[in-house]
């Protein structure tokens, strides 16, 4: 058998190329960055154990984690509520710290490795909200969707987890890897008129 090498490719490898696309506005209204190195797990609390899981997740995040549609954490580790008693944990980089978390949650939560099954991008810029409004039905206005808020919803009929990281605004958007390409084409089409910088 021929020697084969499995390539570690991000969901948008070959698509999200650094550069400016869309309208040549001189000052791109939307900046997009794909997060290419990360590890992710889902955590689902066993019946009646959600409070204990919240305590453990908060300890690992270094800040309070809620059993709600909120995103907590820091630059390297984020914990986002996706359903009652359920979270998606993303570690930027190699994700070795997830091993300790998994050990601490043993017996009180179901922990499932998501491998490279997700697309993660950060969208920011002065026109980010205008671009996202074209395919997302929830209210992303600054007065309603605040830093640390998160939502499980859809964008152009594709499942989407969205959170506001900071008021810049910087949105974190997480989608299934299998639909990353159509998600990307929707995002580029929606943001094109404001000018896009892929970084």
């Amino acid at each position: 058998m021929a020697d084969r090498t499995i390539l570690n490719r991000s969901a948008l490898a070959g698509l999200a190329k650094p550069g400016v696309i869309g309208a040549p506005t001189g000052n791109p209204g939307v900046r997009i960055r794909e997060i290419t190195e990360f590890a992710a797990i889902t955590v689902i609390a066993r019946r009646g154990r959600a409070a204990e899981v919240v305590e453990i997740l908060s300890r690992h995040a270094g800040s309070p984690v809620a059993d709600a549609a909120k995103r907590a954490g820091n630059a390297s580790l984020s914990i986002t509520g996706t359903a009652p008693g359920q979270w998606l944990v993303v570690a930027r980089g190699a994700g070795n710290e997830l091993d300790n978390m998994r050990a601490d949650l043993n017996g009180i939560a179901a922990v499932t490795d998501q491998g490279d099954g997700r697309l993660i991008i950060e969208v920011c810029g002065a026109r980010a909200r205008d671009a996202l409004a074209k395919g997302i039905a929830i209210d992303l206005d600054a007065s309603v969707f605040k830093a640390g808020d998160a939502a499980q919803t859809s964008a152009a009929h594709t499942g989407l987890q969205i959170a506001l990281i900071d008021e810049a605004p910087t949105f974190e958007m997480i989608s299934a890897r299998s639909t990353a390409e159509s998600f990307w084409s929707w995002l580029v089409a929606s943001a094109a008129e404001y000018g896009i910088e892929v970084v």
């Binding site: 709600a68 549609a69 359903a83 009652p84 359920q86 039905a137 929830i138 939502a151 919803t153 859809s154």
Partner: protein
């Protein structure tokens, strides 16, 4: 129509899948009475007024909800998780 999910908040009804009468489905008959099972599986009332319905938040938290809705006006007066698992969560 919008439904206020207890976890996700107010969402468009196209994020949900409706399954109809909640009380008919949530009260499963015991024993082997074939008549009772026929009622349980097939028979539904179709009230003009308040109706408790099962809605699945398929594009959101993927939880089953019991939605109390006036079928004449679409006014929704209550939304709750269909099981006890979601109790304590807030939108």
């Amino acid at each position: 129509m919008r439904i206020r999910c207890p976890y996700c908040g107010e969402r468009s009804n196209d994020e949900f899948t409706v399954l109809g009468d909640a009380d008919a489905l949530l009260t499963r008959p015991s024993g082997e009475n074939i008549e009772a099972f026929h009622e349980y599986v097939y028979q539904r009332t179709n009230p003009a007024g308040l109706h408790r319905e099962l809605w699945y938040h398929s594009a959101g938290c993927r939880r089953w909800l019991v939605v109390t809705r006036d079928t004449r006006t679409h006014e929704i007066t209550n939304v709750a998780f269909a099981n006890s698992r979601g109790e304590g969560a807030t939108a």
